[in-house]
């Protein structure tokens, strides 16, 4: 039974991590890249504005960082909760 509680705690931490990651994921693509582009258009980036940069470069770089961060964090979480392989 205690094992089940432990694994529940592990799963909840995982869900929280996923939620935070997905908020960032949506913010840089749907947000900065599309909907919020007009609101950050005053920030110039090389002949155009920040939103354009996010749509064509920035979002991809953030996606990369997110996946590696998640993998690193989860592998640590696996060990902390004793569910690693």
């Amino acid at each position: 039974m205690s094992e089940e509680i432990a694994s529940n705690r592990y799963w909840r931490s995982n869900i929280r991590l996923i939620q935070v990651s997905l908020v960032i994921w949506a913010l840089v693509s749907f947000g900065f890249g599309i909907v919020l582009r007009p609101t950050i258009s005053s920030i110039p980036v090389g002949g155009t504005d920040l939103g354009f940069w996010f749509a064509q470069q920035g979002s991809i770089l953030v996606f990369l960082a997110l996946i590696f961060f998640y993998a690193w964090r989860m592998n640590r979480l696996d060990r902390e909760h004793g569910v690693d392989e």
Partner: protein
């Protein structure tokens, strides 16, 4: 040495390399055929997955779509990379823990229903076949150009090569071959981009050069681009023109479609551990990002080069002379591409010059009338040719052009082969062994896998002759179908213990059917031209184009599944235990074949 011979040498050498590797790593057993014995390192796996993933759509088609539309087509960039975040966080590690070979096996077992498995197989086949049609379009363009034959002949030759190639080996042969293909395609994509970026901006990193200074004019490159395209009546490159809602839906469809595509997910079954599945998704995106960060630079810079070639005296000067096109070696690319039927021009007003401008623009009407222009004289410029023609347009050395030809073919072939493998395993492993004849011999299974490949390639080639769009657009439809059918079922299978067999089946069927019907209404029934009732310019529902409908289909899938599951009996206890066990990495072990 003529360019034709150089191309042939590069393509020939790259093929010899792939086939050599395929023979060396030939699949011996069914387990090796599907999952390469699970001995694949995350970085190797990431590279192979990247090659598998980056198809004719990414390599040949995408930059062209960005070049001629500009900012609005950033959807492809965000959509096709953002899906990896979903895959890494929400699917890959759990499916690896589950430890079976195919996506439909997971769906069948999690939803304790052979019907669910069957429906998943159907969804996979529909999405994969649509995907292969898009690949065949790209294969036709690439083979047409490098053999200097018509697009149709190129497609038929390409289909034969793809088939021979996919039959050779299974996943193992394909995994190591795809590592080689990745190297060829990424070099082929980035080397010309680096050259062009250096020519235009002096910056060797194309992704930075795009936001750098155009050395010839001293202005920022994108500003210069905006100016010359608007001078000719085209829409501003960096501005947002289309509908925002449709743009978001389209991006979302591509993202969740990425995470629902069988041939990509299958890759994450081939790593040794659950933690490796997480890293592997990251490595895959690293290798993909190398191309995706370069693609917008390729598009923008090519648009600038093309426009300047047609207006060598500036956009307010005289247009290029027909005689120059026919005799100047700088314009040789136009003559070679004309042979494929994908590029054409016509001196409508007989002034001996080719005026390339937007004849639909009111702002241009005055200048056109004053100068005696009678419409845009660049009558055809198929967007799928842009990347392959790009090094020739920029006047790069012959070996770069040969390398790009080899890279384009590598991209199209590797994905087509991966998809054919996914289709054949769906038919032989899930359909025949799983449903029709569980006692089929290993030999019989391999034979039926190959027959399924043959049928798929014939259908895709036939439909590829009259494709529903440019390569990347057709592929986008496939993503919509995967998004609407497979992704929600997988996600609910992992993240909810409440969704039962009836819910999953009803959800997948509803998502697939509605999306498929919406696509057929706009693109023609079974993609047969002329049978459509609507067009994407004036879609059935608001501003939602058929390529963007996958996200709506996915929402329908989720809603129907929850509704039906709420009204029927909860999943049994052992299924809840299965979900629990999928959620923790410990005890993953090696995956097993069959049941």
């Amino acid at each position: 040495m003529s360019q034709f011979v150089i191309n042939l040498l590069f393509v020939g050498a790259s093929f010899a390399l792939y086939i050599g590797i395929a023979i060396w790593a030939r699949a011996g057993s069914t387990s090796e055929f599907y999952a390469a014995g699970r001995g694949v390192h995350p970085v190797t796996n990431g590279m192979a997955t990247a090659a598998d993933w980056m198809s004719a759509a990414s390599f040949i088609s995408m930059a062209g779509l960005i070049a001629f539309v500009g900012y609005d087509n950033s959807t492809f960039l965000m959509g096709w990379t953002g899906g990896y975040v979903l895959l890494a966080l929400m699917l890959a590690p759990y499916l690896r823990k589950f430890g079976k070979f195919t996506v439909s096996e997971f769906i069948g077992e999690r939803f304790y229903s052979s019907t669910a498995r069957l429906v998943a197989v159907v969804c996979l086949i529909v999405a994969s076949v649509t995907y292969v049609i898009g690949q065949m379009t790209g294969v036709g363009v690439a083979f047409g150009r490098f053999l200097e034959v018509s697009n149709t002949t190129g497609l038929l030759i390409g289909a034969a090569v793809v088939f021979a190639y996919a039959v050779f080996g299974g996943m193992k042969g394909v995994t190591y071959t795809q590592v080689a293909q990745y190297c060829v395609l990424i070099l082929a994509y980035t080397i010309p981009a680096i050259f062009i970026s250096l020519q235009l901006t002096g910056n060797p990193v194309p992704g930075l050069g795009l936001f750098g200074t155009h050395e010839a004019s001293g202005e920022p490159l994108l500003q210069k681009l905006d100016q010359i395209v608007t001078d000719l009546g085209f829409r501003e490159y960096t501005a947002h023109h289309g509908d925002t809602f449709n743009m978001m839906l389209f991006t979302l469809s591509l993202m969740i479609g990425t995470a629902g595509l069988p041939h990509v997910i299958m890759r994450f079954f081939t790593v040794p551990k659950v933690s490796d599945a997480r890293w592997s998704a990251g490595w895959t995106l690293v290798f993909i990002a190398l191309l995706y960060l370069t693609a917008p630079a390729v598009g923008g810079m090519a648009r600038l080069n093309i426009t300047e070639q047609f207006w060598p005296n500036g956009t307010d000067g005289e247009a290029v002379a027909v005689e120059t096109i026919e005799t100047d070696p700088d314009y040789n690319w136009m003559l070679t591409w004309q042979k494929t039927g994908l590029l054409d021009w016509e001196d409508k007003n007989g002034d001996g010059r080719i005026q390339y401008y937007n004849d639909g623009s009111e702002a241009m009407a005055e200048r056109a009338a004053a100068s005696g222009w009678e419409g845009n004289e660049l009558t055809r410029f198929n967007r799928d040719i842009l990347v392959l023609a790009n090094p020739e347009i920029a006047n790069l050395p012959g070996w770069v052009i040969g390398l790009v030809a080899a890279g384009g073919l590598a991209a199209a072939l590797s994905t087509a082969a991966g998809l054919l493998l996914a289709i054949s395993s769906a038919v032989s492993h899930d359909l025949i062994k799983g449903q029709i004849n569980p006692r089929i011999s290993e030999k019989g299974e391999l034979l039926s896998a190959r027959i399924a490949m043959a049928v798929a390639i014939v259908v895709a080639t036939y439909l590829g002759l009259n494709p529903p769009g440019f390569a990347a657009q057709t592929v986008a439809l496939a993503f919509g179908l995967a998004a609407a059918s497979i992704f929600p079922a997988l996600m609910m299978g992992i993240f909810s213990k409440k969704i039962n067999n009836h819910g999953a089946v009803a959800g997948m069927l509803a998502g697939l059917a509605v999306t498929l019907i919406y696509i057929f209404l706009h693109k023609g029934w079974f993609f047969i031209p002329g049978t459509n009732s609507f067009t994407d310019a004036d879609p059935l529902l608001g501003t939602i184009k058929s390529t963007s409908f996958g996200a709506i289909g996915a929402a329908i899938n989720f809603a129907v599944a929850y509704l039906v599951a709420g009204m029927t009996r909860e999943p049994p206890l052992e299924i809840k235990d299965l979900v629990e066990s999928v959620r923790v990495p410990r005890g993953a072990g090696a995956a097993q074949a069959g049941h």
